[in-house]
Assembly symmetry: C2
Homo-oligomer: 256 residues x 2
DNA sequence: TCAAAAGTGTTCAATGTACACCCATGC
DNA sequence: GCATGGGTGTACATTGAACACTTTTGA
């Protein structure tokens, strides 16, 4: 944005007040869960990708918009998990107030609007890591993936949000085959197992895992193998879309 | 409130804009789940008890306040379950606009504030039916229990809220001993079983239920029986508070 | 031929489920 | 003494958990 655009930007007209959305966007790559974080120009810390809710925009639509802005991908798996409303969230909090240098150039009225207390609706999204090319939006200086074990300092309560999102993800994994959103269309059984092990944080028995997964009847073996050299080539599988969607809707039992 | 008080009432100063709280307050009595509903003066339909969030009030505190206002009881089991933000929620929606007669006497500015679009954070509460003496607040004409099967016409998306809350309750029942909040301090095993049957909507085997419940180690038999005449007197039980709290925190397996 | 990961079945333990009779109480 | 609901145990089926060797591949 140019300076005159920044000066004219009036969120109070466009968006609901006191209310924001933050997305915990989870990606997966080489046995690592990753979280997409952004840094705003002038702010000494990172944030989750977030945004405001248009005055005529559904909550879920707003979350999808925020997600699409940062990932370039539409229609990712996205789910509301909790709404955060503690008083510590405000930018007015001493810890945060000094971060507000970022808002130079913005009208005083807008700074007031931005620094009011916000309640934020948390969504989490799951995506295959390679699909996404993180895109910063204009007022951000950087937007990139971090390993969950190596998250940067997150401002406000965003570290808490990540924690709650991952906890929810672990719980839901037992009832919905949601982990599947984190792998490419064609995948091998060992890849899927590594994904589950990463999310729930413990090693699983290979034979039991295979047995249980196949018994769900939501994936089928392809007549292809993945050539990864150095050892036996694992078979590729893909979802049976029809059954997969049914499983998503009706729930499955996948506790380990 | 008197007329001059109503005219001076200025929620825009007191509360966060565009944001409300609604509570699905679930009670239990004689094998019936009940929901507390209120009717506002002049409105042709019922609503869930709700309220706004003070500018310096935590979200959970606001929900507790709303709950305490209507039930007279503090510290009930209360849990956020979902945030509702579809556009259909607005009072500006044609279906709802005609309901606004209720706001006669209120300043035009306040009517504008009240009729903006609201996103609402849904909480559900569980309480023993007899503990609560439903209290209407000033601008309400009535506040009372309804059987879940016989709910009145609920305005906005409040029927959807009840539905989502009950669905969440059923799911959580398998992991947390939450049903216990719906019974008096001393209860019999058949009472507890009837409660579970009511919530999950199917009959359970008496012996299996007893076995599983006792194996959790969170209740103990008292040296008392409940005299209910006409047949054998069932023993009374109560929670072992320490273990019960632990179970609430760590989760239990109570799937039937 | 060796290293590294894939693939594949069976046994045992624990848990869940189905099922029926006697007991206490008040009318 | 009879109607009503409370209380109790066992057998079977299902599910989950533990466990090891052979196969494929490329260096």
């Amino acid at each position: 944005m140019k300076k005159d655009q920044i000066a004219a930007w009036n969120p109070a007209e466009l968006y609901l007040s006191n209310l924001s959305i933050d997305c915990v966007i989870v990606g997966y790559h080489e046995k690592q869960l990753k979280i997409l974080c952004t840094r705003f120009e002038g702010l000494n810390g990172w944030l989750l990708p977030g945004g405001f809710i248009g005055k005529n925009e559904n909550l879920d639509d707003a979350a999808n918009r925020v997600l699409a802005e940062r990932t370039g991908v539409e229609g990712l798996f996205l789910k509301q998990f909790h709404t955060f409303g503690s008083l510590q969230r405000s930018w007015e909090h001493p810890v945060n107030k000094k971060q507000l240098a970022a808002y130079e150039g913005v009208s005083a009225q807008t700074v007031k609007w931005m620094t009011e207390r916000f309640v934020s609706v948390g969504y989490y999204a799951l995506t295959e890591y390679s699909k996404v090319n993180p895109k910063k939006i204009e007022i951000e200086s950087e937007c990139r993936w971090f390993d969950v074990q190596e998250l940067p300092d997150l401002l406000l309560d965003h570290a808490q949000m990540v924690h709650t999102a991952l906890e929810t993800l672990q719980l839901q994994l037992h009832h919905e085959p949601i982990g599947f959103n984190l792998l490419p269309e064609k995948f091998t059984l060992p890849e899927m197992q590594a994904l589950y092990e990463t999310i729930i944080g413990k090693e699983l028995d290979q034979r039991n895992f295979t047995k249980k997964l196949l018994s769900l009847g939501i994936i089928k073996k392809l007549n292809e193998k993945k050539h990864i050299g150095g050892h036996r080539s694992p078979s590729l599988y893909k979802f049976i879309k029809r059954n997969y969607n049914k499983a998503l809707k009706e729930g499955v039992q996948l506790a380990f």
